[in-house]
Symmetry: C2
Subunit: 519 residues, 2 copies
């Protein structure tokens, strides 16, 4: 089915043999996507101004609660109007002045500089899903994940060309106490891949640990003017930011590392039942946190974020792939570009319990919308299923191939060989075929994308090969990738320093861990 | 799961009870979509001109083969340059002059005038798939279809709100001889639904029969200035139109009925391995047939069509949902609008053998692209699987719901209650929730689409309900729809006349039928 399976067996074992097979797989990372396809922009200038005005009015009149004494003190010093202890009313001029210092673009650094990513403006990157408390494993069995499972996802992220990051806790390593997990997760991201990664923001102290580990890997001085890690901070919509998220945000900002400022939107439940008004509220929430990053450290990179779903009014369940989510993505893209701030959205979301057709529809609809919306940081790009409750090994590799396909589409139309190809039309003429033409022979590899994980053969051939549905084919592919994984070299001194740091912190941090009971 | 299953059981039997349940289902057809969402247009004016010029040069220099003596005679009379017996070289001025008389828009009439459709410009309609030699039935079993199976698909098309047509041979009724099928198919379309439908073009004589049956249903005079049926004529790419298709085309044009002029593109096999050049060739092919419709009858409506796939260079199999197909759709939409001709594309294509995640990805990617491309006639919008080899009952109803979701997205953002919804933000303030707010209560039904066939519940609830994947849920939905089907009234005299016509023609047409052996 795929290139690995077709590769001839060789008697030579070890690294040489693996390298031979790997040349057939192609694990070379695609550069950050540079979008050339025009975006879908449903709002005209007046409508953008209307959302902006509504959001600013919310910030001025309704205010945003920052449930955190330090943030309130910071805001007071910055000249904000604080009422009822923790309700921050922000004048629109203050907001505009603050967000003006957020960089429109920057380079997101990886430990292997070949994997550095230009970030913002017309660039997009794909980042795997994170945060799943369960996985569907290589046997498609749903169970609690371990640190080894997480390592496998990091290895796959490292090998799949369209994924630009190993992220962080793709799945929760339930075999480690909660209090120590952030250390093991961060080490796994750093160790198993030399692409960019994310940093845990589960508490201010955990975020500090991530900063220290990044300092070991990249150097503290280097971090002062080079973004090397991204962290996510969710808002509690409507209009609340809490102490944990704000503390983690400060830990990142102080070290000049970018935070995704992500209102957590369940449209209709924690926003009005209106697409446009939900965007206005979300925009106000995002702006308030983005502005705060600049209070903490002026000029620090920051990313306009959100988690977007709409809620079923029958069950209260979050939905994905729905039309209003697409529309909100288009609109939010316009707002982020209006403010000249890079932005993050979510890809391949869905509520299916298995990797069935529902999962396919939801993921593809979401991906097409996020690409047409022009998001810079396309998170949850692989593996997400069951409303984020599990990460699926099968879906992980299929989604990654879908990202490669979306990447190709977003690059736009290629005209470089147009005249040459037209000459072929004259050569072939009516009723002929092009398969043997020199232009076809020279160009077919790049001309039309050939997915490995979609089966397009006849049903007879498909049956002869075992009647495998996509889940089974994808799991075979994942197994083959893992079999051929080669760890990217990490400097031994750095590795030892990271392990020493973890050992020290695990001695310091009490292992008491109520949450671990669920494992 | 869906409204029907939740509807309380009633002891009253018969039509009354069915009507009661049907109010819960909502089978009212959505009007033709009026698109307000901006389209994706990858070409600037210069690039459009480049494609146009390349296509015109192909028509002038390479020529198009019309394998049909009548067409050659017609072209000669129209002033075309004929070489090598049947190779028609068309001057660009002649082409432009001819296509100028194609109406940019018209009303597509149904036998129930409430189901008439404005057609062209910013309107889009969804038409089910057609032509499947197999079906996956209500038990998801793949088998040869019968006329009863076809009737069931026509009934579903009648009941599913986002489908605007009952099409024609959604599946091939293998229990009837090929020579008589077109009569039974047309009658089934007309009888089981009062939406618009399609007419068979399997031969010039079959097309004449369709015209006669339409004349019985609508009146021959009415047809003279009202489109009541659409037919599809495929080209043999590269650059050939054959006798069967051209004869059928003439049968439609003479009665002023619109034909879809559809080059059949297998990108890389019968076009150059280049997205832009493939579009130039396809455009030349479509223009040559569109021009010919105006030679047959000036002012006759006609539709710019195509069947689009790219070919796997590994196996020669057609692929779907690939990035280049999306790009070609965007480009062709621009070309059709440049010529001010309504255009047809294909939806929900794919090569999956079952209704697995592959089918979902392929269908949703294709649907998003066709909507963003702005197609007027979105054919193959329900049921397509296995590269068109089977129509799936389960997929049929899921695709139709996806069309309803795409419809909502393409309508764009609604601003009508923006200020009212913003007032709710002030009412609720930070940390509250909107579920009980009067605005939410008043608007939630329309605010956010709630798919019936996607399961967004928790895994515990899903398991308690039987762990049904989408195929099973969709088949339940299809069964319930069919149980509650009510036939739309057809005038008894018209019905009798149609049946008389069929009986007469079945006496006249020999029932010899080699193809029927495969049933």
């Amino acid at each position: 089915m795929n290139a690995i399976e077709e590769a001839p067996r060789t008697r030579r074992g070890g690294r040489g043999a693996r390298r031979e097979i790997r040349t057939a797989i192609d694990t070379k990372m695609l550069p950050a996507l540079k979008r050339r396809l025009p975006l879908v922009e449903p709002m005209d200038g007046d409508q953008i101004a209307r959302i902006d005005d509504a959001s600013m009015a919310i910030l001025e009149d309704v205010g945003v609660v920052f449930r955190d004494p330090q943030a309130i003190a910071d805001w007071r010093a910055a000249g904000a109007d604080i009422r009822d202890d923790d309700r921050v009313h922000l004048d629109r001029n203050l907001v505009r002045e603050l967000i003006a210092s957020i960089p429109e673009s920057f380079t997101y650094h990886a430990r292997n500089s070949a994997n550095n990513l230009p970030f913002g403006k017309d660039h997009s990157i794909f980042v795997p899903m994170t945060g799943a408390p369960y996985l569907r494993d290589l046997d498609d069995k749903r169970r609690g994940p371990t640190l080894d499972d997480l390592a496998n996802f990091h290895k796959l992220a490292h090998m799949l060309p369209a994924l630009h990051s190993s992220a962080h806790h793709i799945v929760e390593p339930m075999d480690h106490v909660v209090a120590h997990r952030h250390l093991r997760i961060t080490y796994s991201s750093m160790k198993h891949s030399d692409k960019t990664f994310m940093g845990m923001t589960t508490s201010p102290k955990n975020a500090e640990d991530v900063m220290e580990m990044c300092a070991i890997l990249f150097g503290a001085d280097f971090m002062e003017d080079h973004p090397v890690v991204t962290g996510n901070c969710n808002g509690n919509s409507p209009l609340v930011w809490d102490e944990v998220m704000l503390g983690a945000m400060r830990a990142f900002c102080r070290r000049n590392q970018p935070v995704l400022c992500s209102p957590f939107v369940l449209g209709g439940a924690n926003t009005p039942a209106s697409t446009a008004a939900a965007v206005a509220q979300l925009n106000a929430e995002a702006l308030s946190a983005l502005a705060y990053t600049q209070v903490v450290r002026k000029g620090c990179p920051a990313i306009y974020g959100h988690y977007l779903s709409t809620v079923s009014m029958k069950s209260g369940a979050p939905m994905a792939g729905t039309p209003e989510i697409s529309l909100m993505n288009f609109m939010i893209g316009q707002m982020a570009r209006y403010y000249r701030i890079p932005w993050r959205t979510s890809n391949t979301l869905g509520g299916a319990k298995t990797f069935d057709a529902q999962a396919g529809y939801e993921s593809a609809s979401t991906m097409m919308a996020t690409l047409m919306a022009g998001a810079n940081y396309i998170w949850h790009s692989a593996g997400w299923n069951e409303a984020g409750m599990h990460c699926s090994m099968a879906k992980f590799v299929v989604d990654a191939e879908q990202c490669a396909m979306g990447y190709r589409m977003a690059e736009g139309v290629k005209w470089d060989d147009f005249d040459e190809a037209l000459a072929a039309v004259r050569d072939i003429g009516p009723g002929g075929h092009y398969l043997g033409h020199p232009h076809t022979q020279a160009r077919f590899q790049e001309a039309f994308f050939m997915p490995e994980l979609f089966d397009n053969n006849s049903i007879e051939q498909w049956m002869a090969e075992g009647s495998h549905e996509i889940t089974e084919r994808a799991l075979n592919h994942a197994r083959n990738l893992l079999k051929n994984y080669e760890e990217p070299r990490l400097d031994e001194g750095v590795d030892e320093a990271l392990r020493d740091y973890i050992a020290r912190r695990e001695r310091e941090i009490p292992a008491v861990d109520a949450l671990n009971d669920e494992y």
